[in-house]
């Protein structure tokens, strides 16, 4: 992790304390997680207490304070998908990957999260992997879908 890059991101947002969330979003999107050293640097450069940075890094679901796997699996549990059987899909994804939502497997291959509506309700139930939405998923299909990802 590059301190200079962190500084750059902070400066891009004008070094204003109220841009804290936007700064962290940029760091998360670049590194796929928020290393503690990055949080400390942001706290220094934006002159906000570490407690506030910590709170925000853990309050919002978009952030992760642990490294993520190569493939991010998001199972939509929005109401429309729920009604179309999403919980069963989640169960089968958990069985196949061996992890629960919020976890990453030991090989750092898959990270699993549940999301509350991706906005493609017509395709429900939806599983989004690495930003690609797989629609009308059935429990019978989940092994095939996950096998595509190495």
């Amino acid at each position: 992790m590059d301190i200079e890059r962190i500084d750059q991101i902070v400066d891009e947002h004008g070094r204003e304390a109220d841009s804290l969330i936007q700064v962290l979003l940029d760091i998360q999107s670049e590194y796929h997680w928020l290393p503690k050293a990055a949080l400390q640097r942001v706290s220094e450069r934006l002159r906000v207490p570490m407690t506030r940075v910590q709170h925000i890094a853990t309050f919002y679901k978009a952030f992760s304070v642990v490294p993520k796997g190569r493939h991010e699996v998001h199972v939509c549990l929005g109401t429309a998908c729920h009604v179309r059987g999403a919980p069963r899909i989640l169960d089968s994804v958990e069985d196949l990957t061996g992890i629960h939502p919020g976890e990453t497997d030991l090989e750092l291959k898959f990270s699993l999260e549940t999301v509350n509506c991706l906005g493609c309700c017509a395709l429900g139930p939806v599983v989004e992997i690495d930003g690609k939405a797989h629609g009308k998923v059935t429990t019978a299909e989940t092994p095939k879908i996950l096998e595509q990802y190495k």
Binding site: Y60, L118, G135, T139
Partner: protein, 642 residues
């Protein structure tokens, strides 16, 4: 340097744009909204462009990705202009035929147009399709006409004319008055009269004020704001600038959830374009009015859709709502007068300014004027976005527009208002949809999510689902919400898992009352609604779960068993092979039997058993019939007679 410095320059520019367009030139409009993109719309657009190029037609045919037209169930959606022929479920393999038949041959490709599932009748024009016929698509109809990334497209359909009118010919007070006269109520869920909100800020003595677009759209199942912000970002922006002028704000914010990356991209681009053209910045269109807009992304917290939490997040803090007894339109962001409105509310503003409040009030009911966009999802044939006048009945939306329940299943309830709303049962289907009618029925309008449920949906599970959702999303600051919902979640989970007991319903009711009376914000105060409304209309389901350990909808896994009916099983081996627990015994000509000890109710066998056999069924609250003894499981096939 701004491109346009006065309303006259704007009109000249617009005329030039329109003059350059040939109304007879064929245009291929492919929906490039997030839903259709997930269906492969990007590849489809490339296929069209490639084929057009190949056929040497690039100069004569315009191909573009557009905003979402709402018929999401049948995507990817393609509309060919000028004939307005609407093709559904189009794939790259259909492209050569469309170019050949429709673009060049001016003929309709019958197999790609809408076919009525009951009558077989075809409808080739968008306006003839039943899904669209009953709608009043004031706002949404523009989506399919424009490339969301092109400000010129927006200008050519009249964009920014309302802004010009407001800035040049109306005072700020007149703008507020027009919005007040229109009686438009907030489209985000609160339903507060927007004009009154604006007036409160207009009258506040503070010099610095703000306007905010709430594009946090957290209600699961609702994606109207997404389609608007992605599909026609300038319409929202124009409304916001007018609002800024009306209340005297020079700064605006668009708070958009980061789960909508395409919407973030498109609104940022729209702002940049508006700045280049002079609709944002200093001395807009020569009026002396300055205005700038910043985009702020959400970071994954439903509670930030609540206005005080949203403002706290804009200030760079954790989105914890504040106990406030002074309204935000007087003391809001940074304690200054702030008008926060939903995306759809802002999108209505240019129409109200251009056409007048009287035009707006012709739609809707006494208490709820105008149209509303709903996301019709769940167990419904025509999933998608519908825009209807307030006052239309639920029955019309679900059956005539939505095409009813698929799979021959029976309607059970429609959930509106997201996690703050409730479920409306069949006996109320003739309810006229408006803010007050929905509230009276124990639900609410909310942001517009409309989730249809059928006989297979367990209503206790629906209540549990929403309470679990809110427990997850609660900011945790106040006790009634954080601790109360936690306990409600436990009790409801116990009920759905067969551990419900006498007194549970009363405890849930008491905790509901606590949350409603004592919560800090609207998330907590409205959290009990899904429970209370399902209890009101489906009490029998709660009692079945608690007293009989039975799930009437055959849905709650711990309370159901799967069983293969030996009289229907033909030993096709499909379920046997697919069972993830290897829990089905049988073989060729040997009736399949589910080992109840191995079965975890995943439902795969039910899913894969071919419909013509339909041998798998579920039991709840009673034991499955004993399995046939092994020697009786052989199927004797009758020999085919010649």
């Amino acid at each position: 340097m701004a491109l346009l410095h006065s309303p006259e320059e704007l009109e000249r520019f617009r005329r030039d744009l329109c003059d350059k367009k040939d109304p007879d030139m064929p245009r291929i409009s492919v929906c490039a909204g997030a839903g259709c993109l997930a269906y492969g719309a990007a590849e489809l657009i490339e296929s069209f462009k490639a084929e057009v190029e190949k056929q040497g037609l690039a100069a004569k045919v315009d191909t573009k990705g557009t905003g979402c037209p709402g018929f999401c169930e049948r995507g990817p959606v393609v509309v060919i202009y000028p004939e307005e022929i609407c093709y559904l479920g189009v794939g790259p393999k259909d492209v050569p035929e469309i170019i050949e038949q429709t673009i060049k041959g001016k003929k309709v490709v019958e197999r790609l147009v809408y076919t009525d599932p009951n009558t077989g009748e075809k409808a080739s024009r968008e306006s003839e399709i039943p899904f669209y016929k009953l709608q009043t698509r004031t706002i949404l109809s523009n989506n399919i006409k424009i490339d969301s990334k092109s400000i010129d497209d927006y200008l050519s359909i009249g964009g920014y004319s309302a802004l010009a009118k407001a800035l040049s010919w109306m005072t700020a007070e007149e703008v507020v008055d027009e919005v007040k006269k229109s009686n438009i109520r907030g489209r985000g869920g609160g339903g507060f009269p927007a004009g009154r909100k604006w007036e409160g800020s207009r009258d506040a003595p503070e010099k610095i004020k703000y306007v905010i677009v709430n594009a946090d759209e957290g209600d699961p199942g609702a994606f109207m704001d997404r389609a608007l912000l992605e599909g026609n970002p300038h319409s929202v922006l124009e409304g916001l600038i007018i609002g800024g002028y009306a209340i005297g704000a020079r700064e605006g914010y668009v708070y958009v959830r980061q789960e909508y990356p395409l919407a973030v991209k498109n609104i940022k681009l729209a702002i940049k374009q508006a700045e280049e053209y002079g609709f944002l910045g200093e001395n807009i269109l020569g009026s002396g009015f300055d205005f700038t807009v910043k985009v702020h992304q959400g970071a994954g917290a439903f509670v930030c859709g609540e206005s005080t939490a949203l403002m706290t997040a804009l200030e760079g803090r954790a989105g914890e709502p504040r106990p406030k007894y002074v309204r935000s339109n007087v003391k809001g962001l940074w304690n200054r007068p702030t008008v926060l409105n939903n995306v759809e509310t802002w999108a209505n503003v240019p129409f109200i300014i251009n056409n007048g409040a009287d035009w707006f009030t012709q739609f809707g009911t006494e208490g709820s004027k105008g149209t509303k966009i709903f996301s019709l999802v769940g167990k419904i044939t025509n999933t998608g976005l519908v825009e209807v006048p307030m006052g239309i009945t639920l029955r019309e939306i679900i059956y005539e527009i939505g095409g009813g329940i698929p799979g021959g299943k029976k309607f059970k309830a429609v959930q509106t208002g997201g996690p703050s709303g409730g479920c409306i049962p069949e006996e109320l289907l003739d309810l006229q949809v408006d803010f007050d009618a929905l509230t009276e029925a124990g639900s609410m309008m909310g942001s517009g999510g409309m989730i249809v449920m059928d006989e297979d949906t367990c209503m206790v599970d629906v209540a549990r689902y929403f309470i679990r959702f809110l427990t997850d999303e609660s900011c945790g600051k106040c006790v009634p919400c954080r601790e109360g919902l936690r306990q409600m979640d436990k009790i409801l989970t116990n009920i759905t898992e067969g551990r419900g007991k006498e007194g549970d319903i009363e405890t849930l009711e008491e905790l509901s009352e606590l949350a409603i009376d004592a919560s800090l914000c609207a998330l907590g105060k409205s959290a009990p609604n899904p429970f209370l409304s399902t209890l009101r209309y489906f009490r029998d389901e709660y009692e079945a779960h608690i007293k009989d350990k039975r799930c009437p909808a055959l849905s709650c896994k711990p309370l159901i068993s799967h069983y293969i009916d030996p009289s229907k099983c033909v030993a096709c081996m499909i379920c046997l092979r697919k069972c993830p627990s290897q829990g089905i015994t049988g073989g060729k000509n040997l009736i399949h039997v589910i080992d109840q000890d191995k079965c975890n109710n995943c439902g795969t066998c039910l899913e894969v058993c071919p419909p013509k056999f339909g041998a798998v069924r579920k039991f709840s609250g009673e034991p499955v019939p004993a399995a046939l003894p092994e020697d009786q499981r052989k199927i004797v096939r009758k020999s085919k007679s010649k």
